[in-house]
């Protein structure tokens, strides 16, 4: 564990991410192109839902990623609170807007799928409501980062809120089993295997992998930006202190 923590210091992360990023972005692009091609030109329409099933290929990966990014943030929150790791709150801060965007995509595409299939854009169903709560938690976390100036204080406050909010993730996952919902139960990751035909399952899995790599690439860029923002902040403070000292000595800056 100690060596893993040593390995993940900001300087090493900047060096490693610069090498990894082009590969990650290229792999994401290839998977997304192949996945969208299969989803649009190879996968058949559903026998009940017809062509609207094509919304599945963006809706389901968005739902998975919204929950995955929140779970990553909960792990980072532990890193911040337990190990005080310098990259943990950087990772957490960078993940929040990305997770929020996928939660938003999940809700919007779900509403656009719900209207033709259920006859309504929205119901206060357990799955839909718990996903909306996830989006609101994401927005709360983003807001908290913005109101607290000092990064390490903000990191600890956000970590506590993130861990409290994590209770919502299993609620989203199991809401369709625990309550009677309009939303269908799990059809991919379930006991007894997927209920999706391979002609629909493969495009979905390829697109899910593509969206995941795309999101991880964005997360890496965002973490790099956050590390640089903190360096800029530290250097600006040091420069201001130096100018203050010089002014006190009566010397020109």
């Amino acid at each position: 564990m100690a060596s893993l923590i040593d390995l993940a210091n900001p300087t090493r992360f900047m060096r490693l991410s610069a090498v990894l990023l082009p590969w990650l972005a290229a792999a994401a692009a290839v998977l997304l192109v192949v996945g969208f091609y299969l989803a649009w030109f190879s996968a058949p329409p559903d026998y009940q839902q017809g062509e609207t099933v094509r919304i599945l290929y963006v809706h389901v990966p968005a739902a998975w990623l919204a929950m995955m990014f929140y779970s990553m943030m909960a792990l980072s929150a532990l890193g911040t609170l337990v190990w005080r790791h310098p990259l943990a709150d950087v990772a957490q801060k960078a993940a929040a807007p990305i997770g929020a965007c996928f939660a938003l995509i999940c809700l919007v595409t779900g509403a656009l799928w719900g209207k033709p299939m259920w006859g309504t854009y929205w119901v206060w169903d357990a799955r839909l409501t718990s996903m909306l709560v996830l989006l609101l938690i994401y927005l709360g976390i983003i807001a908290l980062w913005r109101v607290l100036d000092e990064p390490s204080r903000a990191g600890r406050a956000v970590a506590i809120l993130t861990l409290i909010g994590f209770v919502n993730v299993p609620i989203i996952k199991f809401s369709v089993d625990w309550w009677n919902t309009l939303h269908q139960p799990a059809s991919v990751f379930r006991m007894g295997g997927s209920t999706l035909d391979p002609s629909m399952l493969w495009p979905l899995l390829i697109l899910a992998a593509g969206f995941t790599l795309f999101a991880l690439a964005l997360h890496m860029v965002s973490m790099r930006a956050e590390i640089m923002r903190r360096r800029v902040r530290t250097l600006t403070i040091l420069e201001a202190e130096r100018l203050d000292r010089l002014a006190a000595q009566g010397a020109p800056a």
């Binding site: 609207t52 809706h59 995509i105 790099r224 640089m228 360096r231 800029v232 420069e239």
Partner: protein, 61 residues
Amino acid sequence: MNDLIAPLGPHADYILGSYAAVAVVLVGLAASILRDHAAQKKALAALEERGAGRRSGRRAS
């Protein structure tokens, strides 16, 4: 364009609307992250060029 939309059936608007929403949100997210990255890189380069953080405060050579 109609040839592309017609095979999608009566709910084409909902299907295309979903994909448009995905494109708008993800392109906006990627643009904002890349813009932020470029801005921080520029700010850091400017500070390092001024020699900020060095005890002597001399310009970097």
